[in-house]
């Protein structure tokens, strides 16, 4: 019995100490982590939206349960952005951030995260591929060539570009109804 209590006591001390260490390290790093995550979002907005000087992640309205981020230059609306998660990727969900100008034509697309095959599907993050979406509006057919559209799928991967095209299309539908309001 004595050794039983000794075991319980030892493991309790160890877990309490470990918990304290973790609390300490969390309190030291949490601000920096939050800052890094926000910087990443802001730089994504910078790369896909027309010029803006507000912070779109705080300036948004809800349309169909989707956040539509609004880019403003001194109060004038210059563009919109929507973040959608498309689950039709080859490796699972792809988080896509689509930006448009104030009329609803695509000004840029960014992939926030994905788990596509390295060397094949992950080419969807290449700038030359993402630029293919520029200028599309909600009335255009956005699809890969295999499906009768104009987006070039690259050799060995059709599913990833197809998921991206679907995600951009969905985003434009949301932005279009946001502009209409």
């Amino acid at each position: 019995m004595n050794s039983f209590f000794k075991s319980v006591f030892t493991i309790t001390v160890i877990t309490v100490l470990a918990g304290m260490m973790l609390a300490l390290s969390y309190s030291f790093t949490k601000d920096k982590i939050a800052y890094q995550e926000r910087q990443e979002i802001l730089s994504a907005f910078k790369s896909i939206l027309p010029y803006h000087n507000n912070e779109p992640d705080k300036d948004y309205k809800m349309v169909n349960n989707q956040k539509v981020f609004i880019a403003k230059d001194n109060g004038t609306i210059t563009g919109y952005a929507v973040n959608v998660i498309n689950t039709q990727g080859y490796g699972g969900a792809i988080s896509i951030l689509t930006g448009t100008d104030s009329s609803g034509a695509v000004s840029g697309v960014a992939v926030i995260y994905h788990s596509e095959t390295p060397g094949l599907g992950d080419k969807i993050t290449n700038k030359s591929f993402l630029d293919l979406f520029k200028g599309f509006t909600v009335n255009d057919k956005i699809a890969v060539k295999k499906d009768g559209g104009t987006i070039d799928q690259f050799s060995g991967a059709t599913i990833s570009p197809r998921a991206l095209a679907a995600g951009v299309k969905d985003s434009l539908t949301v932005i279009d109804s946001a502009i209409g309001k």
């Binding site: 030892t10 493991i11 160890i14 877990t15 973790l22 790093t29 982590i33 995260y113 060397g119």
Partner: protein, 199 residues
């Protein structure tokens, strides 16, 4: 003794090529040189820290609960490293993301705790953790560099081949990891047998 520990960690008892431990992260993250290096260094940091703490505390931990106690200590180090990487090397953390928490169950770390740190003094354990970790890092780095070089034609993301080079994609895909690890194993066996033969 110290010289022996270092030699064991780096070569003769190398985590991957001799103990054949930690093959899961080895196969998964070595798609590029920088991923391999990041994973190796993170593991080294955990290994050094856990080896030191475990050798200091081993005599107070009753034998029957030593494994859960070691795992708590290792998990604590891994979480701290995870948070520090996220705060300071955000883009690397994004790539290694899911593999960092898995260091907890990396057999190398628990293996060293059980086989070495719990039986040796803190100084030796620290050096053992460091040299096993560096041996692991070097092995990952070699495998990662080869796979990136052949599979993408780059080194640390910089183009290294003629632009006409058509990358052999299989090298960066999962089957490539097994193939190239197999070649490295064969290479090490060859070197070892040559050394033995000369004696």
């Amino acid at each position: 003794m110290i010289k022996n520990i270092i030699k064991n960690g780096l070569y003769s008892n190398n985590a991957i090529f001799k103990q054949m431990l930690g093959l899961c992260p080895t196969l998964a993250v070595t798609t590029s040189a920088v991923n391999a290096l990041g994973m190796g260094l993170a593991t080294t940091a955990v290994l050094t820290g856990s080896n030191l703490v475990i050798s200091l505390t081993a005599k107070y931990i009753p034998k029957n609960i030593r494994i859960p106690a070691y795992i708590v200590i290792i998990a604590c180090f891994v979480t701290i490293i995870d948070q520090m990487m996220k705060a300071n090397f955000y883009s690397l953390h994004k790539v290694l993301g899911i593999f960092i928490p898995l260091i907890v169950v990396n057999c190398i770390v628990l293996g060293r705790a059980e086989a070495f740190a719990s039986k040796n003094n803190p100084l030796y354990s620290l050096i053992d953790g460091l040299s096993i970790g560096i041996g692991f890092t070097i092995s990952l780095f070699i495998l990662g560099s080869i796979r990136e070089f052949i599979g993408a034609g780059t080194f640390f993301g910089m183009p290294f081949m003629l632009s006409s080079y058509n990358p052999l994609l299989i090298a960066v895909m999962p089957p490539g990891a097994f193939l190239f690890l197999g070649f490295l194993f064969a290479g090490k066996q060859f070197i070892d047998s040559r050394i033995k033969g000369e004696k």
